[in-house]
Protein backbone atom coordinates (compact mmCIF):
# COMPACT_ATOMS: atom_id res chain seq x y z
CA UNK A 1 0.00 0.00 0.00
CA UNK A 2 1.44 3.28 -1.13
CA UNK A 3 3.12 5.09 1.79
CA UNK A 4 0.87 3.46 4.41
CA UNK A 5 3.54 3.64 7.13
CA UNK A 6 4.01 7.40 6.77
CA UNK A 7 0.26 7.98 6.53
CA UNK A 8 -0.18 6.02 9.76
CA UNK A 9 2.53 8.11 11.44
CA UNK A 10 0.68 11.25 10.36
CA UNK A 11 -2.64 9.98 11.70
CA UNK A 12 -1.11 9.02 15.04
CA UNK A 13 0.53 12.44 15.24
CA UNK A 14 -2.78 14.19 14.62
CA UNK A 15 -4.57 12.04 17.19
CA UNK A 16 -1.88 12.37 19.87
CA UNK A 17 -1.74 16.17 19.58
CA UNK A 18 -5.49 16.49 20.11
CA UNK A 19 -7.31 16.28 23.42
CA UNK A 20 -9.55 13.46 22.21
CA UNK A 21 -7.40 10.56 23.54
CA UNK A 22 -7.50 12.16 27.00
CA UNK A 23 -11.26 12.76 26.85
CA UNK A 24 -12.02 9.24 25.66
CA UNK A 25 -9.71 7.75 28.31
CA UNK A 26 -11.43 9.79 31.02
CA UNK A 27 -14.83 8.73 29.69
CA UNK A 28 -13.90 5.06 29.57
CA UNK A 29 -12.20 5.25 32.99
CA UNK A 30 -15.66 5.79 34.46
CA UNK A 31 -16.32 2.08 33.82
CA UNK A 32 -13.80 0.59 36.31
CA UNK A 33 -14.30 3.47 38.73
CA UNK A 34 -18.08 2.93 38.62
CA UNK A 35 -17.51 -0.79 39.07
CA UNK A 36 -15.21 -0.02 42.03
CA UNK A 37 -17.93 2.10 43.58
CA UNK A 38 -20.33 -0.84 43.44
CA UNK A 39 -17.71 -3.13 44.96
CA UNK A 40 -17.43 -0.72 47.91
CA UNK A 41 -21.19 -0.76 48.27
CA UNK A 42 -21.46 -4.53 47.97
CA UNK A 43 -18.73 -5.05 50.55
CA UNK A 44 -20.82 -3.36 53.22
CA UNK A 45 -24.29 -2.25 52.02
CA UNK A 46 -25.35 -1.08 55.50
CA UNK A 47 -22.34 1.20 55.80
CA UNK A 48 -23.02 2.52 52.26
CA UNK A 49 -26.60 3.38 53.25
CA UNK A 50 -25.51 5.00 56.51
CA UNK A 51 -22.95 7.29 54.89
CA UNK A 52 -25.31 8.10 52.02
CA UNK A 53 -23.45 6.39 49.19
CA UNK A 54 -26.74 4.76 48.16
CA UNK A 55 -30.39 5.37 48.93
CA UNK A 56 -32.07 3.24 51.55
CA UNK A 57 -34.35 2.01 48.74
CA UNK A 58 -31.46 0.77 46.59
CA UNK A 59 -31.87 -2.81 45.40
CA UNK A 60 -28.47 -4.49 45.24
CA UNK A 61 -28.80 -7.44 42.88
CA UNK A 62 -25.41 -7.15 41.23
CA UNK A 63 -23.72 -9.88 43.20
CA UNK A 64 -20.95 -10.04 45.74
CA UNK A 65 -17.89 -7.84 46.20
CA UNK A 66 -15.46 -10.17 44.45
CA UNK A 67 -13.35 -10.39 41.30
CA UNK A 68 -15.85 -12.42 39.20
CA UNK A 69 -18.58 -9.82 39.83
CA UNK A 70 -16.26 -6.88 39.20
CA UNK A 71 -14.89 -8.41 35.98
CA UNK A 72 -18.38 -9.32 34.79
CA UNK A 73 -19.37 -5.67 35.27
CA UNK A 74 -16.32 -4.64 33.25
CA UNK A 75 -16.99 -7.00 30.32
CA UNK A 76 -20.68 -6.02 30.18
CA UNK A 77 -19.74 -2.33 30.15
CA UNK A 78 -17.19 -2.87 27.36
CA UNK A 79 -19.71 -4.88 25.32
CA UNK A 80 -22.26 -2.07 25.45
CA UNK A 81 -20.15 1.06 25.96
CA UNK A 82 -17.38 0.09 23.56
CA UNK A 83 -19.68 0.54 20.59
CA UNK A 84 -20.41 4.12 21.65
CA UNK A 85 -16.87 5.10 22.61
CA UNK A 86 -15.07 3.41 19.70
CA UNK A 87 -17.75 4.83 17.40
CA UNK A 88 -17.01 8.30 18.74
CA UNK A 89 -13.31 7.76 18.03
CA UNK A 90 -14.11 6.73 14.43
CA UNK A 91 -16.50 9.66 13.99
CA UNK A 92 -13.76 12.04 15.16
CA UNK A 93 -10.87 10.53 13.18
CA UNK A 94 -12.81 10.78 9.90
CA UNK A 95 -15.26 13.59 10.65
CA UNK A 96 -12.61 16.07 11.80
CA UNK A 97 -11.16 16.22 8.29
CA UNK A 98 -14.45 17.74 7.14
CA UNK A 99 -15.11 19.91 10.18
CA UNK A 100 -11.57 21.33 9.96
CA UNK A 101 -11.86 21.43 6.15
CA UNK A 102 -8.56 19.59 5.80
CA UNK A 103 -9.87 16.63 3.77
CA UNK A 104 -9.07 18.44 0.52
CA UNK A 105 -5.38 18.52 1.46
CA UNK A 106 -5.32 14.71 1.48
CA UNK A 107 -6.81 14.11 -1.95
CA UNK A 108 -4.20 15.04 -4.56
CA UNK A 109 -1.05 13.55 -3.06
CA UNK A 110 1.42 10.84 -4.03
CA UNK A 111 0.08 8.94 -1.00
CA UNK A 112 -3.04 7.07 -2.08
CA UNK A 113 -6.42 7.88 -0.59
CA UNK A 114 -6.80 4.18 0.26
CA UNK A 115 -3.63 4.39 2.37
CA UNK A 116 -5.04 7.39 4.17
CA UNK A 117 -8.32 5.58 4.94
CA UNK A 118 -6.45 2.46 6.10
CA UNK A 119 -4.11 4.50 8.27
CA UNK A 120 -7.11 6.11 9.95
CA UNK A 121 -8.61 2.66 10.57
CA UNK A 122 -5.31 1.51 12.10
CA UNK A 123 -5.40 4.51 14.46
CA UNK A 124 -9.02 3.78 15.44
CA UNK A 125 -8.17 0.14 16.17
CA UNK A 126 -5.03 0.94 18.19
CA UNK A 127 -6.74 3.79 20.02
CA UNK A 128 -9.70 1.54 20.95
CA UNK A 129 -7.40 -1.28 22.05
CA UNK A 130 -5.31 1.14 24.13
CA UNK A 131 -8.43 2.46 25.87
CA UNK A 132 -9.38 -1.11 26.71
CA UNK A 133 -5.92 -1.86 28.12
CA UNK A 134 -6.08 1.32 30.21
CA UNK A 135 -9.42 0.44 31.79
CA UNK A 136 -8.33 -3.15 32.40
CA UNK A 137 -5.28 -1.86 34.26
CA UNK A 138 -7.43 0.58 36.23
CA UNK A 139 -9.78 -2.29 37.07
CA UNK A 140 -6.91 -4.40 38.41
CA UNK A 141 -5.57 -1.49 40.46
CA UNK A 142 -8.99 -0.56 41.86
CA UNK A 143 -9.80 -4.20 42.66
CA UNK A 144 -6.46 -4.65 44.42
CA UNK A 145 -6.90 -1.37 46.32
CA UNK A 146 -10.33 -2.49 47.51
CA UNK A 147 -8.87 -5.76 48.74
CA UNK A 148 -11.24 -8.00 46.78
CA UNK A 149 -10.81 -11.63 47.79
CA UNK A 150 -8.30 -13.49 45.63
CA UNK A 151 -9.71 -15.35 42.64
CA UNK A 152 -8.37 -18.20 40.51
CA UNK A 153 -6.17 -17.09 37.57
CA UNK A 154 -8.73 -18.72 35.28
CA UNK A 155 -11.26 -16.01 36.25
CA UNK A 156 -8.88 -13.32 34.95
CA UNK A 157 -7.93 -15.23 31.81
CA UNK A 158 -11.56 -15.95 30.98
CA UNK A 159 -12.53 -12.28 31.41
CA UNK A 160 -9.48 -11.18 29.41
CA UNK A 161 -10.39 -13.42 26.48
CA UNK A 162 -14.03 -12.28 26.59
CA UNK A 163 -12.95 -8.62 26.60
CA UNK A 164 -10.47 -9.20 23.78
CA UNK A 165 -13.06 -10.85 21.53
CA UNK A 166 -15.70 -8.22 22.39
CA UNK A 167 -13.25 -5.41 21.59
CA UNK A 168 -12.30 -7.02 18.25
CA UNK A 169 -15.97 -7.36 17.35
CA UNK A 170 -16.67 -3.77 18.38
CA UNK A 171 -13.67 -2.36 16.49
CA UNK A 172 -14.94 -4.13 13.35
CA UNK A 173 -18.17 -2.20 13.69
CA UNK A 174 -16.45 1.20 13.56
CA UNK A 175 -15.91 1.08 9.78
CA UNK A 176 -19.57 1.85 8.92
CA UNK A 177 -19.28 4.82 11.31
CA UNK A 178 -16.18 5.92 9.38
CA UNK A 179 -18.18 5.63 6.17
CA UNK A 180 -21.00 7.75 7.63
CA UNK A 181 -18.48 10.43 8.73
CA UNK A 182 -16.99 10.49 5.22
CA UNK A 183 -20.21 10.39 3.23
CA UNK A 184 -21.98 13.01 5.36
CA UNK A 185 -18.83 15.00 6.00
CA UNK A 186 -18.59 15.69 9.71
CA UNK A 187 -18.99 14.40 13.27
CA UNK A 188 -22.71 14.58 13.88
CA UNK A 189 -24.12 12.31 11.15
CA UNK A 190 -22.00 9.31 12.21
CA UNK A 191 -23.01 9.87 15.83
CA UNK A 192 -26.65 9.88 14.72
CA UNK A 193 -26.02 6.64 12.80
CA UNK A 194 -24.43 5.13 15.90
CA UNK A 195 -27.39 6.08 18.11
CA UNK A 196 -29.76 4.63 15.52
CA UNK A 197 -27.72 1.41 15.47
CA UNK A 198 -27.87 1.19 19.28
CA UNK A 199 -31.65 1.70 19.32
CA UNK A 200 -32.16 -0.94 16.64
CA UNK A 201 -29.81 -3.25 18.57
CA UNK A 202 -32.04 -2.91 21.65
CA UNK A 203 -35.18 -3.58 19.62
CA UNK A 204 -33.77 -6.59 17.79
CA UNK A 205 -32.41 -8.03 21.04
CA UNK A 206 -35.81 -7.59 22.71
CA UNK A 207 -37.45 -9.26 19.70
CA UNK A 208 -35.03 -12.17 19.91
CA UNK A 209 -33.20 -11.38 16.64
CA UNK A 210 -30.19 -9.68 18.18
CA UNK A 211 -27.78 -12.39 17.09
CA UNK A 212 -28.36 -11.29 13.50
CA UNK A 213 -27.91 -7.54 14.00
CA UNK A 214 -24.23 -6.54 14.06
CA UNK A 215 -24.45 -3.84 16.75
CA UNK A 216 -26.33 -6.19 19.13
CA UNK A 217 -23.83 -9.03 18.84
CA UNK A 218 -20.96 -7.75 21.08
CA UNK A 219 -23.36 -7.13 23.98
CA UNK A 220 -24.91 -10.59 23.54
CA UNK A 221 -21.43 -12.09 23.40
CA UNK A 222 -20.32 -10.59 26.73
CA UNK A 223 -23.60 -11.69 28.31
CA UNK A 224 -22.56 -15.24 27.51
CA UNK A 225 -25.23 -15.90 24.89
CA UNK A 226 -24.48 -18.87 22.67
CA UNK A 227 -23.80 -17.24 19.32
CA UNK A 228 -23.47 -19.20 16.10
CA UNK A 229 -20.73 -18.69 13.53
CA UNK A 230 -23.24 -16.65 11.52
CA UNK A 231 -23.20 -13.92 14.20
CA UNK A 232 -19.41 -13.56 14.05
CA UNK A 233 -19.55 -13.67 10.26
CA UNK A 234 -22.14 -10.88 10.25
CA UNK A 235 -19.88 -8.64 12.34
CA UNK A 236 -16.79 -9.36 10.22
CA UNK A 237 -18.76 -8.83 7.02
CA UNK A 238 -20.16 -5.54 8.33
CA UNK A 239 -16.62 -4.40 9.10
CA UNK A 240 -15.37 -5.39 5.65
CA UNK A 241 -18.30 -3.70 3.91
CA UNK A 242 -17.78 -0.55 5.99
CA UNK A 243 -14.07 -0.46 5.15
CA UNK A 244 -14.60 -1.14 1.46
CA UNK A 245 -17.37 1.46 1.33
CA UNK A 246 -15.17 4.07 2.98
CA UNK A 247 -12.23 3.38 0.65
CA UNK A 248 -14.48 3.45 -2.41
CA UNK A 249 -16.12 6.66 -1.25
CA UNK A 250 -12.75 8.38 -0.77
CA UNK A 251 -11.51 7.11 -4.14
CA UNK A 252 -14.62 7.60 -6.27
CA UNK A 253 -16.98 10.20 -4.82
CA UNK A 254 -16.84 13.87 -5.71
CA UNK A 255 -15.09 15.70 -2.90
CA UNK A 256 -16.62 19.11 -2.55
CA UNK A 257 -15.33 20.13 0.91
Amino acid sequence: MNNLAQATWVEFRKACRSKMPLFTALGFAMVPLGGGFFMIVLKDPDMARRVGLISTKAQLTMGAADWPTYLRFLTMAIGAGGIILFGLVAAWVFGREYSDRTAKDLLALPTSRSAIVLSKCVVIAVWSAALTVVICLITLCVGAALGLPPAAPQVFWQSGITIMVAVCLTISLTTPIAFAASAWRGYLPPIAVMILAMVVAQLTTAAGWGEYFPWAIPALFVQGEKLGAISYAIVVLTGIIGLAGTILWWELADQTR
Binding site: N2, R101, A108, L109, I116, E251, Q255
Partner: protein
Protein backbone atom coordinates in the same frame (compact mmCIF):
# COMPACT_ATOMS: atom_id res chain seq x y z
CA UNK B 1 2.92 24.61 -27.07
CA UNK B 2 4.35 22.59 -24.16
CA UNK B 3 1.37 22.54 -21.80
CA UNK B 4 1.24 21.69 -18.09
CA UNK B 5 -2.55 21.93 -17.92
CA UNK B 6 -4.89 21.06 -20.71
CA UNK B 7 -8.64 20.61 -20.56
CA UNK B 8 -10.81 19.47 -23.38
CA UNK B 9 -14.48 20.46 -23.31
CA UNK B 10 -14.65 19.90 -19.57
CA UNK B 11 -18.20 19.71 -18.21
CA UNK B 12 -19.35 19.27 -14.62
CA UNK B 13 -23.01 19.10 -13.69
CA UNK B 14 -24.52 18.76 -10.22
CA UNK B 15 -28.11 17.74 -10.86
CA UNK B 16 -29.61 20.49 -13.00
CA UNK B 17 -26.80 22.91 -12.26
CA UNK B 18 -23.98 23.12 -14.76
CA UNK B 19 -20.99 24.34 -12.76
CA UNK B 20 -18.46 24.00 -15.59
CA UNK B 21 -19.68 24.11 -19.15
CA UNK B 22 -17.33 22.99 -21.89
CA UNK B 23 -14.12 24.58 -20.63
CA UNK B 24 -11.10 24.03 -22.87
CA UNK B 25 -7.99 25.78 -21.71
CA UNK B 26 -4.24 25.43 -22.06
CA UNK B 27 -1.59 26.55 -19.61
CA UNK B 28 1.95 26.57 -20.94
CA UNK B 29 4.95 25.45 -18.95
CA UNK B 30 6.41 28.28 -16.87
CA UNK B 31 3.38 30.47 -17.41
CA UNK B 32 1.41 32.35 -14.77
CA UNK B 33 -2.19 31.84 -15.75
CA UNK B 34 -4.90 33.78 -13.91
CA UNK B 35 -8.37 32.33 -13.87
CA UNK B 36 -10.92 35.05 -13.32
CA UNK B 37 -14.60 34.85 -12.57
CA UNK B 38 -17.31 36.09 -10.25
CA UNK B 39 -18.37 34.05 -7.22
CA UNK B 40 -20.01 30.85 -8.44
CA UNK B 41 -18.58 31.22 -11.94
CA UNK B 42 -16.99 27.76 -11.81
CA UNK B 43 -13.39 28.58 -10.84
CA UNK B 44 -13.14 26.31 -7.81
CA UNK B 45 -15.04 23.49 -9.50
CA UNK B 46 -12.58 23.67 -12.40
CA UNK B 47 -9.68 23.54 -9.94
CA UNK B 48 -11.25 20.51 -8.22
CA UNK B 49 -11.60 18.81 -11.59
CA UNK B 50 -7.95 19.53 -12.37
CA UNK B 51 -6.93 18.01 -9.02
CA UNK B 52 -9.07 14.89 -9.44
CA UNK B 53 -11.29 15.82 -6.50
CA UNK B 54 -14.37 15.66 -8.70
CA UNK B 55 -15.10 13.63 -11.80
CA UNK B 56 -16.06 15.50 -14.95
CA UNK B 57 -19.50 14.79 -16.36
CA UNK B 58 -17.81 14.83 -19.75
CA UNK B 59 -14.55 15.98 -21.26
CA UNK B 60 -11.12 15.44 -19.80
CA UNK B 61 -8.28 17.20 -18.09
CA UNK B 62 -4.55 16.58 -18.35
CA UNK B 63 -2.08 17.78 -15.75
CA UNK B 64 1.64 17.52 -16.46
CA UNK B 65 0.79 15.32 -19.42
CA UNK B 66 -1.19 12.78 -17.38
CA UNK B 67 -4.91 12.37 -17.82
CA UNK B 68 -6.72 12.89 -14.53
CA UNK B 69 -8.54 9.72 -13.59
CA UNK B 70 -9.31 7.59 -10.54
CA UNK B 71 -6.26 6.15 -8.84
CA UNK B 72 -3.80 8.08 -11.03
CA UNK B 73 -1.24 9.66 -8.71
CA UNK B 74 1.90 9.97 -10.79
CA UNK B 75 1.50 13.69 -11.38
CA UNK B 76 0.78 14.72 -7.78
CA UNK B 77 4.47 14.42 -6.84
CA UNK B 78 5.07 17.55 -8.88
CA UNK B 79 1.91 19.51 -8.13
CA UNK B 80 1.26 21.82 -5.18
CA UNK B 81 -2.17 23.23 -4.51
CA UNK B 82 -4.34 25.40 -2.35
CA UNK B 83 -8.08 24.97 -2.82
CA UNK B 84 -10.64 27.45 -1.49
CA UNK B 85 -9.59 28.32 2.05
CA UNK B 86 -6.18 27.69 3.59
CA UNK B 87 -6.97 25.20 6.35
CA UNK B 88 -4.68 23.30 8.69
CA UNK B 89 -4.89 20.99 11.69
CA UNK B 90 -5.53 23.49 14.48
CA UNK B 91 -3.86 21.52 17.27
CA UNK B 92 -0.63 21.04 15.31
CA UNK B 93 1.98 23.77 15.06
CA UNK B 94 2.90 25.37 11.75
CA UNK B 95 6.00 23.17 11.58
CA UNK B 96 4.05 20.02 12.47
CA UNK B 97 1.43 20.77 9.82
CA UNK B 98 4.17 21.07 7.23
CA UNK B 99 5.88 17.94 8.53
CA UNK B 100 2.67 15.91 8.19
CA UNK B 101 2.32 17.04 4.59
CA UNK B 102 6.00 16.30 3.94
CA UNK B 103 5.54 12.71 5.08
CA UNK B 104 2.59 12.33 2.74
CA UNK B 105 4.88 13.39 -0.11
CA UNK B 106 7.57 10.70 0.03
CA UNK B 107 10.98 11.74 -1.19
CA UNK B 108 10.74 15.31 0.07
CA UNK B 109 13.79 16.20 2.17
CA UNK B 110 13.17 17.09 5.84
CA UNK B 111 14.98 20.40 5.26
CA UNK B 112 12.17 21.45 2.91
CA UNK B 113 10.04 22.35 5.91
CA UNK B 114 12.58 24.80 7.35
CA UNK B 115 13.28 26.25 3.92
CA UNK B 116 9.65 27.10 3.23
CA UNK B 117 9.15 28.46 6.76
CA UNK B 118 12.00 30.85 6.12
CA UNK B 119 10.92 31.72 2.60
CA UNK B 120 7.37 32.57 3.61
CA UNK B 121 8.50 34.43 6.70
CA UNK B 122 6.75 32.04 9.07
CA UNK B 123 9.73 31.63 11.42
CA UNK B 124 8.14 33.60 14.25
CA UNK B 125 5.07 31.36 14.11
CA UNK B 126 6.74 28.02 13.38
CA UNK B 127 6.03 26.59 16.81
CA UNK B 128 2.64 28.18 17.24
CA UNK B 129 -0.50 26.10 16.87
CA UNK B 130 -2.18 26.64 13.53
CA UNK B 131 -5.51 27.25 15.23
CA UNK B 132 -4.15 30.44 16.79
CA UNK B 133 -2.81 31.98 13.56
CA UNK B 134 -4.25 35.14 12.05
CA UNK B 135 -6.05 34.76 8.73
CA UNK B 136 -3.07 36.14 6.87
CA UNK B 137 -0.60 33.76 8.49
CA UNK B 138 -2.97 30.83 7.98
CA UNK B 139 -2.96 31.78 4.30
CA UNK B 140 0.86 31.76 4.34
CA UNK B 141 0.77 28.29 5.87
CA UNK B 142 -1.61 27.18 3.12
CA UNK B 143 0.81 28.53 0.52
CA UNK B 144 3.72 26.87 2.31
CA UNK B 145 1.93 23.52 2.07
CA UNK B 146 1.48 24.08 -1.65
CA UNK B 147 5.08 25.08 -2.30
CA UNK B 148 7.41 23.30 0.16
CA UNK B 149 8.15 20.31 -2.11
CA UNK B 150 9.33 22.44 -5.07
CA UNK B 151 6.47 21.53 -7.42
CA UNK B 152 6.62 22.00 -11.18
CA UNK B 153 3.04 23.22 -11.15
CA UNK B 154 1.12 25.08 -8.47
CA UNK B 155 -2.65 25.42 -8.56
CA UNK B 156 -3.79 28.18 -6.24
CA UNK B 157 -7.31 29.26 -5.44
CA UNK B 158 -7.25 32.91 -4.34
CA UNK B 159 -3.65 32.85 -3.08
CA UNK B 160 -3.73 36.46 -1.86
CA UNK B 161 -6.98 36.06 0.10
CA UNK B 162 -6.67 37.50 3.60
CA UNK B 163 -3.19 38.93 3.10
CA UNK B 164 -2.39 42.53 3.90
CA UNK B 165 -0.97 44.78 1.13
CA UNK B 166 2.62 43.90 2.05
CA UNK B 167 1.74 40.21 2.05
CA UNK B 168 0.10 40.53 -1.37
CA UNK B 169 3.24 42.11 -2.80
CA UNK B 170 5.36 39.41 -1.16
CA UNK B 171 3.28 36.61 -2.69
CA UNK B 172 3.32 38.36 -6.06
CA UNK B 173 7.11 38.51 -5.94
CA UNK B 174 7.33 34.91 -4.80
CA UNK B 175 5.14 33.60 -7.63
CA UNK B 176 6.94 35.77 -10.17
CA UNK B 177 10.31 34.43 -8.98
CA UNK B 178 9.07 30.85 -9.08
CA UNK B 179 7.91 31.23 -12.67
CA UNK B 180 10.89 33.26 -13.84
CA UNK B 181 13.77 31.56 -12.01
CA UNK B 182 12.53 28.00 -11.61
CA UNK B 183 10.17 27.65 -14.52
CA UNK B 184 7.26 26.78 -12.21
CA UNK B 185 3.86 26.95 -13.84
CA UNK B 186 1.27 28.85 -11.81
CA UNK B 187 -2.46 28.43 -12.31
CA UNK B 188 -4.32 30.76 -9.98
CA UNK B 189 -7.79 32.07 -9.49
CA UNK B 190 -8.12 35.52 -8.05
CA UNK B 191 -10.54 38.31 -7.30
CA UNK B 192 -7.77 40.87 -6.87
CA UNK B 193 -7.62 41.98 -10.47
CA UNK B 194 -5.04 44.69 -9.88
CA UNK B 195 -2.65 42.01 -8.69
CA UNK B 196 -3.50 39.73 -11.58
CA UNK B 197 -2.68 42.40 -14.12
CA UNK B 198 0.76 42.85 -12.54
CA UNK B 199 1.47 39.15 -12.23
CA UNK B 200 -0.19 37.05 -14.92
CA UNK B 201 1.16 36.21 -18.35
CA UNK B 202 -2.18 34.95 -19.51
CA UNK B 203 -5.77 35.29 -18.34
CA UNK B 204 -8.84 33.09 -18.66
CA UNK B 205 -12.23 34.58 -17.89
CA UNK B 206 -14.98 32.20 -16.82
CA UNK B 207 -18.62 33.18 -16.39
CA UNK B 208 -21.58 30.91 -15.63
CA UNK B 209 -19.27 27.94 -16.12
CA UNK B 210 -18.18 28.94 -19.63
CA UNK B 211 -14.72 30.13 -20.56
CA UNK B 212 -15.52 33.46 -22.20
CA UNK B 213 -12.04 34.43 -23.22
CA UNK B 214 -8.38 33.50 -22.94
CA UNK B 215 -5.90 36.21 -23.68
CA UNK B 216 -2.35 37.20 -22.94
CA UNK B 217 -1.45 40.60 -21.57
CA UNK B 218 -0.67 42.03 -25.02
CA UNK B 219 -4.10 41.03 -26.21
CA UNK B 220 -5.58 42.57 -23.10
CA UNK B 221 -3.76 45.82 -23.87
CA UNK B 222 -5.16 45.69 -27.37
CA UNK B 223 -8.69 44.85 -26.29
CA UNK B 224 -9.24 47.20 -23.43
CA UNK B 225 -10.95 50.50 -24.07
CA UNK B 226 -9.14 53.79 -24.01
CA UNK B 227 -10.53 57.29 -24.10
CA UNK B 228 -9.23 60.83 -23.94
CA UNK B 229 -10.64 62.79 -21.00
CA UNK B 230 -10.38 66.55 -20.95
CA UNK B 231 -11.59 69.69 -19.25
CA UNK B 232 -11.06 73.18 -20.49
CA UNK B 233 -11.72 76.76 -19.51
CA UNK B 234 -14.94 76.55 -21.58
CA UNK B 235 -16.17 72.98 -21.90
CA UNK B 236 -19.23 73.81 -24.02
CA UNK B 237 -17.21 75.64 -26.65
CA UNK B 238 -14.45 73.03 -26.51
CA UNK B 239 -16.92 70.24 -27.13
CA UNK B 240 -18.39 72.11 -30.10
CA UNK B 241 -14.87 72.53 -31.48
CA UNK B 242 -14.15 68.80 -31.11
CA UNK B 243 -17.41 67.87 -32.83
CA UNK B 244 -16.50 70.32 -35.58
CA UNK B 245 -13.19 68.49 -35.96
CA UNK B 246 -15.13 65.27 -36.59
CA UNK B 247 -14.76 63.66 -33.18
CA UNK B 248 -17.66 62.06 -31.31
CA UNK B 249 -17.75 63.20 -27.71
CA UNK B 250 -19.48 62.17 -24.51
CA UNK B 251 -19.87 63.84 -21.18
CA UNK B 252 -19.04 61.70 -18.15
CA UNK B 253 -21.05 61.80 -14.94
CA UNK B 254 -18.70 64.41 -13.46
CA UNK B 255 -18.94 66.67 -16.53
CA UNK B 256 -15.64 65.68 -18.13
CA UNK B 257 -15.50 65.51 -21.94
CA UNK B 258 -14.64 62.00 -23.18
CA UNK B 259 -13.39 61.31 -26.72
CA UNK B 260 -13.04 57.70 -27.91
CA UNK B 261 -11.71 58.27 -31.44
CA UNK B 262 -8.35 56.66 -32.06
CA UNK B 263 -6.93 59.82 -33.60
CA UNK B 264 -7.62 61.81 -30.43
CA UNK B 265 -6.29 59.05 -28.15
CA UNK B 266 -3.07 58.63 -30.12
CA UNK B 267 -2.40 62.37 -30.60
CA UNK B 268 -3.66 64.20 -27.50
CA UNK B 269 -0.99 66.86 -28.11
CA UNK B 270 -2.73 67.86 -31.38
CA UNK B 271 -6.03 68.21 -29.53
CA UNK B 272 -4.37 70.36 -26.87
CA UNK B 273 -2.83 72.64 -29.49
CA UNK B 274 -6.16 73.14 -31.31
CA UNK B 275 -7.93 73.93 -28.03
CA UNK B 276 -5.28 76.43 -26.95
CA UNK B 277 -5.37 78.11 -30.37
CA UNK B 278 -9.16 78.40 -30.08
CA UNK B 279 -8.84 80.01 -26.63
CA UNK B 280 -10.18 77.01 -24.67
CA UNK B 281 -7.00 75.90 -22.98
CA UNK B 282 -7.20 72.43 -21.37
CA UNK B 283 -7.13 72.39 -17.57
CA UNK B 284 -7.00 68.60 -17.54
CA UNK B 285 -6.12 66.18 -20.31
CA UNK B 286 -5.23 62.51 -20.07
CA UNK B 287 -5.72 59.19 -21.78
CA UNK B 288 -7.61 56.80 -19.55
CA UNK B 289 -7.00 53.11 -20.12
CA UNK B 290 -9.60 50.61 -19.04
CA UNK B 291 -8.13 48.51 -16.25
CA UNK B 292 -8.51 44.78 -15.95
CA UNK B 293 -11.35 45.17 -13.48
CA UNK B 294 -13.43 47.29 -15.86
CA UNK B 295 -12.53 45.04 -18.77
CA UNK B 296 -13.55 41.96 -16.82
CA UNK B 297 -16.86 43.45 -15.67
CA UNK B 298 -17.64 44.65 -19.19
CA UNK B 299 -16.90 41.19 -20.56
CA UNK B 300 -19.11 39.36 -18.07
CA UNK B 301 -21.84 41.94 -18.53
CA UNK B 302 -21.90 43.18 -14.95
CA UNK B 303 -22.17 46.89 -14.22
CA UNK B 304 -19.44 48.27 -12.02
CA UNK B 305 -20.55 48.29 -8.41
CA UNK B 306 -22.87 45.32 -8.87
CA UNK B 307 -20.18 42.70 -9.21
CA UNK B 308 -21.17 40.88 -6.07
Amino acid sequence: MNTDIETDNLVKRYGNVTAVDGVSLRVAKGEIYAFLGLNGAGKTTTIRLLLGMAKPTSGEARVLGTRIRIGERKQWDSVGYLVETADAYPELTVRENLETMRRLRPGTAPQAVDRIIERLDLGAFADRRAGTLSHGNAQRLGLAKALFHNPELVILDEPASGLDPAGIVEIRNLLTELARDQGVTVFMSSHILGEVSRLAHRIGIIHHGRLLQELDMEELDHNRRRRLLLRTTNDTAARALLVGMGFSTDITSDGTIAVKDCMAIERPDDIATRLVNAGHAPTMLYVEEENLEHYFLRLVGVEEGNAN
